[in-house]
Point group: C2
Chain length 448, copies 2
């Protein structure tokens, strides 16, 4: 009987993150200052980020050391297991070998802690005492609350109002780690108050919450802002996923033909895929499959443009695939994938035709997730169901092709079971591709 | 840096369960037929249990082979990690070494799958097609739903009404694994209908739900009943926890001075402790600490008596510590510990003064759980918070005593976060020891 779970010892955990920046073919365009349209420098961003993270954001070093105190917290749950999906393969009747890297073992149940911990660490090193951040679905807020607690930082989370009301479990998790949480839009910022003045019943949005958190960081002493996806340094930290997976596959003498990840802001996909980029560039026949929701099709229907990361236009302009910063995605249950933009690194990989994006509907994702749960036991997060759906499509295209599929199971679904219950009750539906809203939101954005 | 997580390879997983029955000093009294007051035979119990489980229930063999198909499902999550609580030790300032065996890695997030899988397996082997069972807090129902799904059995869960209404996430989990669930008391059984006729708004109780599930099994073809704690065969299956822990401790050259587990029906505590019983009997200085809720103090305030396992008096009479089968425990949030009885094996260990029981209040348990979460990351289930509280008491009695404490972290609290939120909101309180209710419920039960 082959091993089901391929484990690494703690002393086999990678000691460096892989930095994809120097390897991106064609290079990367810089983020711009919206006021001047010139490349934005560390001086301006230094108001809300510590210098160590800004250095990582722009570094051209291929490898970056993981600080010892970060490694020590990582080992609370890392290395995470790589699991061979024998039971899923059998259920599908495929000759493909499917492996999933299981990030649900983290304290908060998702991969987000991989970057929350170093972000908290570098902020602590810089003398920062307090972090302001936002959360939509709640994974990122939970991760930052946990990381702040470990580093002795205060943490204030602006939680999108609709999630705040619908996700009491996520709130409780953040409270357990000592964070303070407010529904966004809130009375705690000028921007929040202005939104509430116009619309007292605003359900909020990720864009509004980001703007509130940034304003909080700018207007409070010793407070910085933290973002859970999109930025280069976030993707850098997540590469530990793929670096471990590579070691684990090597232990069983395997190597991926296809790597599959869900695409929201990009860090989930990038975490598993980027460490295999040098292999691809060296000529290995390895495909990268990014799975996004059909209702928020940033990579398949968006435009490569300079756009804001938030609706209130407070962030720098990022060179990325975007549906436009005014676009409000439909209310699918994979909240972590409801974002108008995409990490510049991931966007560049699409531009270079290295990453193949596909868009899938939510019902087929829940169906894939339930099949996975019955076979493998683990109930996946709705975001991860997208990756599973993509992997199943690959594994069943030709059942007799013995290819190796590696997927990122970024989190468990124990905190998202309400959406599964709605799925079983027949209360969920697919959303049509919101073509008009996207066209409207994109019309003033020049392609780059 | 010492390893934080002590792991076993899959091929190091125990291949046999440890059977404590032949080792219990003074032996065990048999269960009785309530009608005749004579020892009950396998013939009667065969109506609701497969013969293989009844043989295990009474076996005097010291070791019992784990069937290969059960091992194969175990390896979806087993061996589970043994984790050194460095961070908790540091937070407490203790010289004690604290290890926790983490059973929250199972698909349903608790140890219950360790027995659900073999129970489903033996029923399948016996030609059974359908399992009827009950669930209170939801852990057991989830585990049985998962195990039934893996074995291709139908599963019907009678879920205590109050949990059915308050725990939609647990319901969704059972639905994901394909189980059908009904609120108990239900219209699906004579007993349920009789309860509803008397009290249409009955919140239900574990006793009522057990009676409904047994009636269901008796009155349906190819249907058996399954119980998640108390019985000898359940405790047998849970010994894999302690057997693994023993191997893991040996890897780091350690051995427990104190073993701590929460006591509800007894399988959680027994799972970690029983494999160390032979060591204790051979003269090793090792203490067994069972932690129960002060509001349901079966071991510290109950009586050793022959009593029913359910309120409707449908089960055999079991020789156990009990608060009386009419006793309804207060609504503490560790639902898995709200049971009037206790496993006969665990009760016998108390009788022999091998197990030291202590009773703790719920607020101090939540406090311990939050401290643990901030230190170790993992948010524990409310039941597991009891074991943590016990371990902390041991570790802080004398901060300079370098003893080794082993505790069973039986599950994560991701599905119980609502109770943490109530704790933070100051809405939870301790319950006074319900002396009068217990005296009333016990007055007609002769001590044995």
């Amino acid at each position: 009987m082959s091993e089901k779970k391929i484990l690494l010892r703690e002393d086999e955990m990678p000691k460096q993150w892989y930095n994809a920046l120097p390897d991106i073919p064609g290079g990367m365009k810089p983020p711009l200052d919206p006021a001047t349209k010139q490349p934005i420098g560390p001086d301006k961003l230094g108001a809300i980020f510590p210098m160590a993270l800004l250095e990582q954001e722009m570094s051209m070093a291929p490898w970056i050391d993981i600080p010892e105190p970060v490694l020590e917290i990582y080992r609370l749950w890392r290395p995470s297991p790589l699991i061979r999906a024998f039971e899923l393969e059998q259920a599908l009747g495929t000759k493909a070998r499917i492996y999933y890297k299981y990030e649900g073992v983290s304290p908060v149940g998702s991969h987000k802690t991989n970057t929350a911990v170093p972000q908290a660490y570098y902020n602590k090193q810089a003398g920062i005492k307090r972090i302001a951040t936002e959360t939509g679905a709640g994974q990122w807020g939970s991760a930052m609350a946990f990381a702040s607690s470990k580093m002795g930082l205060e943490c204030k989370v602006y939680m999108v109002r609709v999630s705040f009301d619908q996700k009491p479990y996520r709130k409780a998790m953040m409270h357990t780690y000592g964070a303070s949480i407010v529904a966004s839009p809130s009375q705690d910022t000028n921007y929040g108050r202005s939104v509430l003045a116009r619309d007292p019943d605003s359900p909020g949005s990720l864009g509004i919450a980001i703007s509130e958190a940034i304003e909080d960081a700018v207007t409070h002493d010793s407070t910085n802002y933290a973002l859970g996806s999109v930025l280069n340094h976030v993707l850098l930290h997540q590469t530990i996923i793929g670096l471990e997976a590579k070691k684990q596959l090597a232990k069983v003498g395997d190597f991926p033909d296809v790597i599959v990840g869900a695409c929201g802001g990009g860090s989930n996909f990038a975490g598993i895929a980027l460490p295999f980029l040098p292999d691809r560039l060296a000529g290995k026949n390895i495909r990268f499959l990014g799975v996004e929701p059909a209702s928020c099709p940033t990579l398949t229907k968006g435009k490569m443009a300079y756009d804001f990361g938030d609706t209130a236009q407070m962030t720098p302009l990022l060179p990325m695939h975007t549906l436009g910063h005014d676009f409000i995605p439909p209310g699918i249950h994979a909240g972590g994938l409801r974002y108008h933009g995409m990490a510049p690194i991931v966007s560049a990989l699409v531009r270079e035709k290295i990453l193949e994006p596909i868009a899938v509907h939510q019902l087929e994702c829940f169906e894939a997730g339930v099949l996975f749960a019955k076979a493998e036991g683990i109930i996946p997060a709705p975001e991860s169901c997208h990756a599973i759906r993509g992997a199943i499509m690959e594994a069943t295209k030709d059942l007799n092709e013995p290819k190796t599929i590696l997927l990122n199971l970024s989190g468990h679904g124990h905190l998202d079971l309400a959406s599964f219950e709605q799925y079983f009750a027949g209360e969920l539906h697919n959303y049509a591709y919101p073509a008009e809203a996207i066209a409207e939101s994109l019309k003033h954005l020049p392609e780059i």
